[in-house]
Symmetry: D2
Subunit: 333 residues, 4 copies
């Protein structure tokens, strides 16, 4: 089994975590080169894992010894970088979002369809979280009977100063927009956003969405990126034969100071540690096998279409229909 040689673009917190996971925990992978605008940072990461520093993203994508590319660069660069990978015929794992608009993800789909083979995987890591995977099996095996409702909660301790009200949909709610159709094997049909009052001019946070699927399931979504107490992702699927939900992550419980409780994870990198590892390994396996796995460009596009409707609903305050076209043949199971 020869190694899959990976080139990485972007070595911020997420990219650095991926480089380390690939190098230490994914035997089949070897990180051969990386690029980041922050030269000092990328040098340090590369040294740590024995990779060479690249001069720019094209030097990563174009390198002869790079079999596959991992993109963890700033969001606005994703689309162009993925297009470059497609031009180079190289498999690519791109952190979400795949593009900053549904038009963008459509362009990628067009390019990939033109190529005639799937090269793009999108970094929706929840699909690799063990409990989400078990939840999906439970749902698709019919253990819960007919699914009627899904309740989702996504909370961060604190948002980045640059966060925008629309960005909460694009960057955070986007996870539910991908995960739920995957959990249910269903597609979106409508979304209505309702926003609690906040101070004038303040970030519209939290945001409540009610989504509907083509199959008639109703999904509630709370995204609250300044919840203060930590990073907390909840999901309960309600069927007519029972409900199933994620339990709190494993760790320590403390009885002290008048309280019986347990600490909440600080961020997603800690919380989805195993999910990221399984995601990277599955990607590397698929590259080695010449196949594709995980969330596709079409899955990302489906989420983008829902996100655009959700952003429209932020403004309109009303129910917005989501029209999801049939996927191109390339993306059919």
């Amino acid at each position: 089994m020869s190694k899959v040689r990976v080139g990485v673009i972007g070595t911020g917190a997420m990219g650095t975590s991926h480089v380390r996971t690939l190098s230490r925990w994914v035997s089949q992978a070897q990180v051969v080169t990386a690029y980041d605008a922050d030269v000092a940072r990328v040098k340090q990461v590369c040294q740590e894992v024995g990779a060479r520093t690249a001069d720019g993203p094209e030097a990563v994508i174009g390198a002869d010894d790079v079999d596959a590319v991992l993109i963890a660069a700033p969001d606005p660069l994703h689309q162009d970088l993925v297009m470059s990978c497609l031009s180079a015929g190289k498999p690519v794992l791109c952190e979400k979002p795949l593009a900053t608009s549904a038009t963008g993800s459509q362009e990628i789909i067009d390019a990939e369809v033109a190529l005639g083979r799937r090269l793009v995987q999108v970094g929706f890591m929840r699909r690799y979280d063990p409990a989400y995977v078990a939840l999906r099996s439970t749902v698709l095996d019919g253990d819960l009977g007919a699914v009627r409702v899904v309740h989702c909660v996504h909370r961060n301790a604190e948002s980045h100063p640059s966060a925008t009200s629309e960005g909460i949909v694009t960057n955070s709610m986007i996870h539910e927009l991908d995960t739920v159709p995957w959990l249910l094997d269903d597609t979106w049909s409508a979304v209505t956003m309702t926003l609690p009052k906040v101070a004038d001019g303040a970030l519209r946070d939290p945001q409540i969405g009610v989504l509907e699927t083509a199959g008639g399931v109703v999904v509630t979504s709370e995204v609250f990126v300044n919840a203060g107490y930590g990073y907390d992702v909840q999901c309960e699927v309600v069927g007519d034969a029972g409900t199933a939900r994620l339990t709190p992550p494993y760790g320590l419980g403390f009885r002290r100071g008048g309280s019986d409780g347990f600490p909440v994870a600080a961020d997603f990198i800690v919380r989805f540690d195993d999910a990221y590892r399984f995601e990277l390994a599955a990607w590397v396996d698929s590259v080695a096998a010449g196949s594709a796995t995980g969330a596709s460009a079409w899955d990302a596009h489906r989420a983008d279409l829902a996100a655009e409707a959700a952003r429209r609903s932020l403004t309109s305050g009303t129910r917005e229909t989501i029209t999801t076209p049939d996927p191109p043949d390339l993306y059919r199971p």
Copy 2:
């Protein structure tokens, strides 16, 4: 301290439970008479507590030795029975719903305002549940910061064969429609109902509502009256300084058969046992003191107005505004 002598109308499951609770657990109360259309049943209950059987509801309301009336008769009779109590100038605790329409509760308000004193308490028992009471204190003390969102779940094991889609709002969701304004010291401004697809002609169950308050809080409500696994009421209040929620009721946990779990309460009489006791005692105290407490006719009317909007939304599928008038002076704190 002389006893408050109570007459009871309706000795079905709820009424019988109230008679027993009053007789056994509320020292200040004495049940002196009761009426029910089922003569055998009311005889047995009366014998149990040493009360006499009444020939009809008016014989209860009109009896000289009845200081206060408890109504647990079938829903459609509530309004007229309460009006009779008002005519007789007797304090009355009426199980919800106070009336079957907002027009009905308005008539009661008009009558009570004309009388110039509060005689009506409505049986929204959650206001007496210890954890709900603590939740309210936490919210009003500001422990959670500014409240942004409330999540409510109300599940029954199984609905009565006579249940209707509109009745789910009127009989079940009505609890949230009263409880949340009380929790937040706020009023309703809008509601949007969204319904999962079910078989043609089947009961529209579960029902998802998104409610908005005048203060700008967004409330999600799931009511599912055929959830199968038991009676389960959940509530989480989300503030910008933390969240608080009801924990599962006290009882036993079992580790067996591959699972670590605990049994869920079968019904509301078991689940809200303490709440019913506290409710009855508070009512009896207020009668003895010549004052009023708990949910008023105006509180019930406010919930009815929201319920009517919710029922309209069931049909329209869109957001319905809830206009809550200012309360008459009688109902101001």
Copy 3:
């Protein structure tokens, strides 16, 4: 149903709580008189419930209008007061401990046997806690198969300055010494105490006991009266077909400050609120019926014999046999 007229001796925290519970929540009871060495306190409590203040304990026990006596006086007075009640032929509910030694409880048994009827109930309130009651049913119904092990934890936030190492057995562990034989319908056969090292001269706290029953069940007991975080009673029964345990008390859960947790009860009066009410009501019912219920003098004696063995083991550091004689016929079911 005429009232059971109760006289109360001792109106400290526990006694005052009992007076209020009897007056407000136990319809069948009427507190007619009370005594306490603290005259101001007893006056206030009596005024609150419309009872008269007694000049001394004998004025309570001897009063013609006192049908039954509740003793919540300081522990060293219990035995003599109970003996006086027996002399007067009056039913008595005595807070634990019934006596400060097994010799003491034996004297009470002798007197009660001589009388030929049970008048004494001992205040082991856990027997009335709903979850303990359910736990016992589960065990005795055989739901857990053959019981092998019971794990008990008893923690207080903080001990009284007067607490002694032996007193931890006599005042705290005594609850488990009564509860477990009742849970299992079994008797004690041996106890071994093992004590963590503490600073020289400090209270020997916590204390670990391993107890054995005649039926061959092994029971672990942790008593920690300075656990700091609150009042916390845990119990798990382990059978060869599953385990059952008390779940945490109902209340609020909080997500804030980096933690997901819930507040622990401050003390036993809060924690066992319902248990105390059920205990008092059952006692009053049994007095009205001329029968007896709850923990008997013999039950208390059985616990005292175990406590004496446990105290011997505190010193010897070795396994001490507990010899429980057959109960007199009076105490057989």
Copy 4:
């Protein structure tokens, strides 16, 4: 970074799991050869990961291209195989038990001390479980104040037909005998085993142990290898400033069939999946670095001495002193 080439002896369930984990998840490792008495099985495992099948254990240990040896053979073979590794001067990770007696582990220590460097790591995987690691940090950082008590529960669904009463100590309780001294940075001083009654001739299961440490901490241990409901490991450390405990593993919770619960892991390979991975990676890293990590031969010997005392106590029914000699210099931090 060249790979650490590993030879594996024993490809039963545990050994096969290790081979797969090393090959897939530990980038620094390469499994080059393996041996098992079951030729078909070892062939299949080797083929899966591209390793060659060895003719016998010595062919694994003696192979030029084997840098380090992993032993997952039947327990009675461990000691001799480890001694062979020491003779060959090769690092070895040996599943517990290191030997079947304290004399056996002493011989290994003597040999390792004679060599003058640590080559032996013992497979006490709990030291790598994330929550156990966090628990240890919490304890050693003083967050819980002075530790007084540790409660341990170890339950298996079902024991192997060959299980013996002594084997429950040697194979199961041995985990606590290693983990607790590591958690507390302390050593054992005494153990008392107390056994519930079972049918004549039946396996003595469950077993309750009370252990004492040199530092004065009291440890309760329940081992129950036929608990029926699943594999369940619990640990709570009780200090005078609070307690900390492992929370249930992450997964799904189900509300159905009258119950709110979650499935318990079937076995240790599932339950300690991450721990095994971290253990193997730490071992491989230490081999690469020419150093040693994890549980040493001396740690295993310390646990063996405690296990022998516990087995004596099974028979004697009394407290048995555990004399732990000072470790040879080789094992000092």
